[in-house]
């Protein structure tokens, strides 16, 4: 089985980008492609060929769900699992987000020291 290393991360907030990037790369040992918007993600996704899509929900322009919907239309990514990150963690909202095809929702603020481990668990559970 291919080793789980490549994550495409879409987040508009630069500081959170930095924190998550460190958490995933330095702590978790992942290879992370950070995009600041849905549009940027669509441009880079195919080349990067991610094994997981990690998407912020609330973003200006294309938000998380519409970005995911667009990414899923790229044939190479149609089966790539996706995880949303959001501050909104009401059960109804989680249920709503899962209908867009995500495999899980991670609540913000996340613990950067355990984020990589959490994602890895979710990814493997989904396989």
């Amino acid at each position: 089985m291919e080793e789980f290393t490549r994550i495409l991360y879409v987040e508009d907030e630069p500081d959170i980008q930095t924190v998550a990037q460190i958490a995933l790369e330095s702590v978790g040992g992942f290879q992370v492609k950070v995009c600041s918007s849905g549009e940027e993600a669509l441009e880079n996704a195919r080349d990067f060929n991610p094994q997981l899509l990690l998407l912020d929900v609330m973003m200006p322009g294309m938000d998380g769900p519409s970005t995911l919907t667009a990414l899923k239309k790229i044939p190479e990514l149609s089966n790539t699992p996706a995880i949303f990150m959001t501050a909104k963690v009401q059960p109804q909202e989680v249920a709503q987000l899962l209908t867009y095809g995500a495999i899980d929702v991670i609540a913000k603020p996340f613990d950067p020291m355990t984020l990589a481990e959490t994602i890895r668990k979710i990814w493997h559970k989904n396989k």
């Binding site: 500081d15 924190v19 998550a20 603020p109 996340f110 020291m113």
Partner: protein
């Protein structure tokens, strides 16, 4: 019988009767005169004497007939005229008597038998005159004296003793006739008085009936305003009492103010003020009853200042009472005296008028006060609904209330609060107001929605009171405030808080994440002192995040943005799970959790996730405040129509001064607690909001030093949703 005031009327009537008898007596005297001449034609009396006498008799008769005709032509008599006619009658009678009186002087025959015939004829005429003339004694006395006395004297002066005896008899006859005339006169006079009295009574009765009919016509006329009615009544009084000036006065101390006045030109204007002591009304006040003076200058109050100032001769007044208090007087007066004193009926009538005026004034005043009160109530922006405690039907709603719910007054009169408050069933509403009826609560404040006739919902805040006024039936009074505007502002505020909180959360996430990476060692080793500082920063960013999350939670629940997912939940299983979830935290604090609930199979209708949040809050609070190695009891039991879930700790308890505001936002018993124990101070507020969304209520009981029991009650029946 005292009808002295009727003397002149009686006399007029007597005169009328005298004149009425003239034709008969003239006819009789003419016949007798003719017979006399016929009989005496053969006597020693010269024929020319007899003819002359007969002519005189005819002339006197003619004069009397003429008098009689003149009298009969007159229809109405005043008193003086009546006296003149009486005098004329007596003159005529005297002449008539003279015609008989002169017989023994000028027509005296020598033959004794003829003399006796004269005696018969004159005596017969006199006897006949008694019936016709006894109405006035003067007339009959003169007639008898003039007609019979000469005859009596002639006989007495005769040499014949038989004639002397007849002269005495004639004199005695005169006296006897006079006595019977007097008796007849007395009887006829009494008769006349009786007739006059009954006429007078009939007139008075008619006048009274007329006055009462007019009074009724005035008071019952809906077209007239009170002022117009009062003026009509004054005019009626003047007509009825035959007086000239009608006044309604208001008396206040010494001030006599004319409120209404009707009279001839020159009377004072309404609003004029006089000295009460100088008005006749002071006598009305002294007697405190209808009082009258029909002829002041001849009465005991002839020196009254009012008489001196205004020369008012007649006065009739009655006190006016408004709401049992003396207001002033209704009085009528005139510069002309009245012939007769005021009658009992007139007193009754003026009293009736005064009572009516007093009642009308009282009613108008109270109506005015009531209408001012009602207008104010009608115009109040807050809506006022009043409803009956038994039927719950509205019996008063103000303008605002009608506008708020869009129903008309008539429509609302057959409706109850439940008809416009769709959040309640009749049973729920009855349960809610029960403490007010039983007196356990003095008022009730609740928020709900009112449904407009067009189906629109209006958020309202209701202040409900049970009012039991003295002598009136108890009622519910609801002051309802439209919360639409306040809700909108509240929503704006909530949106603002929610936006701000959300905006706060993003940078906090970064800070929190960065610090977590550093303290977690992801960026390499750091000196111990730096680590300590970063730990403080980390702990506080966590607190800040907790606070922001709680605020967002609370706003969501309160604004109704948070959807509740109601399901039927097995209460025991739910409580067991809550104990399991919190066991970890409890054991960290060295506290044990005891599940005591015995009621297996109780089902509640709840959002399990939200309700768990409540349990978590109560349990974590209990754990925080429990002593080392303490225990916490989780229990449930029935209370009337709801089930109570309780969490009991045996810690310090809630200090008295904080008990009142415990469920308010940002309340913690000790401000240092938040450092020591953590928590945002919003937990109980959130729990309260969640429980209320379950149609339940939250509460606690606490004994400082002994511990606390926090509980929430949930309805057993499923709430409406």
């Amino acid at each position: 019988m005292s009808y002295s005031h009727n003397d002149i009327k009686v006399r007029s009537e007597q005169v009328r009767l005298l004149y009425q008898a003239i034709p008969t007596s003239i006819t009789a005297s003419l016949i007798v005169a003719c017979i006399f001449v016929f009989i005496f034609w053969q006597s020693s009396i010269p024929h020319q004497h007899l003819i002359a006498w007969l002519i005189i008799v005819f002339i006197v008769s003619l004069i009397r007939v003429f008098l009689c005709l003149r009298y009969r032509k007159k229809v109405i008599f005043n008193d003086t005229e009546s006296l003149i006619y009486e005098r004329n009658f007596i003159i005529g009678t005297t002449f008539s008597a003279l015609t008989w009186g002169v017989i023994p002087v000028f027509l005296y025959p020598d033959d004794i038998s003829y003399q006796v015939v004269i005696a018969f004829i004159v005596a017969g005429m006199s006897a006949g005159a008694v019936t016709a003339l006894s109405y006035r004694l003067t007339a009959i006395y003169i007639f008898l004296t003039v007609s019979l006395l000469p005859l009596s004297l002639r006989f007495l002066t005769s040499d014949d003793y038989v004639l002397n005896a007849m002269g005495v008899m004639a004199a005695v006859f005169v006296v006897l006739l006079m006595m019977s005339a007097k008796r007849i006169n007395k009887y006829t006079e009494q008769n006349i008085i009786l007739v006059l009295n009954s006429d007078e009574r009939e007139d008075e009765l008619k006048a009274n009936i007329n006055a009462l009919q007019s009074f009724h016509a005035i008071t019952a006329n809906t077209q007239l305003s009170l002022d117009e009615k009062i003026y009509e009544l004054l005019i009626l009084g003047l007509d009825t009492f035959k007086l000239d000036i009608g006044i309604i006065s208001n008396i206040n101390g010494d001030a006599y103010t004319i409120e209404y006045i009707h009279g001839p030109e020159g009377v004072p204007e309404p609003g004029s003020v006089f000295d009460f002591n100088e008005s006749y009304c002071i006598h009305t006040y002294l007697s405190n009853a209808p009082t009258g003076f029909h002829h002041v200058s001849e009465s005991e109050i002839a020196t009254h200042p009012c008489y001196k100032a205004f020369k008012l001769e007649a006065y009739l007044g009655s006190p006016i009472f408004v709401n049992h208090e003396r207001y002033g007087t209704l009085n009528f007066s005139s510069p002309n005296p009245r012939k007769n004193p005021f009658s009992e009926k007139e007193f009754v009538l003026i009293q009736l008028f005064a009572q009516w005026i007093g009642n009308e004034m009282a009613r108008t005043t109270s109506e005015l006060q009531l209408s001012q009160f009602k207008t104010t109530l009608d115009k109040t922006r807050d809506c006022v609904f009043m409803f009956d405690p038994d039927s719950l039907r509205f019996f008063y709603v103000n303008q605002g209330a009608m506008e708020q719910v869009g129903y008309s007054y008539q429509e609302l009169l057959v409706m109850t609060p439940v008809d416009i408050e769709p959040e309640f069933t009749s049973e729920q509403f009855a349960t809610m107001i029960e403490p007010l009826i039983s007196g356990k609560e003095s008022s009730l404040v609740y928020e709900t929605i009112h449904r407009h006739k067009n189906g629109k919902n209006i958020p309202v805040d209701i202040f409900l009171q049970y009012v039991e006024p003295d002598n009136e039936t108890p009622r519910f009074v609801a002051l309802v405030r439209d919360m639409t505007d306040r809700k909108r502002i509240e929503n704006m505020k909530n949106d603002f808080v929610s936006t701000v909180s959300h905006e706060l959360r993003t940078p906090l996430t970064s800070i929190h994440g960065s610090i977590a990476l550093i303290t977690g060692g992801a960026t390499g080793e750091l000196p111990a002192a730096v680590m300590e500082m970063l730990n403080i920063a980390h702990k506080n960013t966590e607190r800040l995040l907790l606070l922001v999350n709680d605020i967002l939670d609370l706003q969501k629940i309160e604004s109704g943005k948070l959807q509740f997912n109601f399901r039927y939940v097995d209460l025991c299983k739910f409580l067991e799970q809550s104990v399991k979830e919190n066991e970890g935290f409890a054991s960290e604090n060295n506290v044990s959790l005891n599940m005591l609930c015995k009621h297996k199979g109780v089902v509640i209708y709840a959002d399990q996730v939200r309700l768990m949040q409540v349990m978590n809050n109560l349990l974590s609070n209990a754990a925080k405040f429990s002593p080392e190695d303490g225990s916490i009891d989780v229990d449930c039991h029935y209370e009337r129509n709801f089930i109570r879930i309780s969490v009991t700790d045996y810690g310090e308890g809630v200090p008295k001064e904080f008990q009142k505001n415990l469920f308010e936002k940002f309340t913690q018993a000790d401000s240092s607690d938040s450092k020591k124990l953590g928590g945002s101070g919003l937990g109980l507020s959130i729990a309260k909001s969640i429980v209320e969304k379950h149609a339940g209520s939250i509460g606690f009981s606490s004994t400082p030093g002994r511990g606390s029991t926090f509980f929430f009650d949930l309805p057993i029946s499923a709430p409406k949703h």
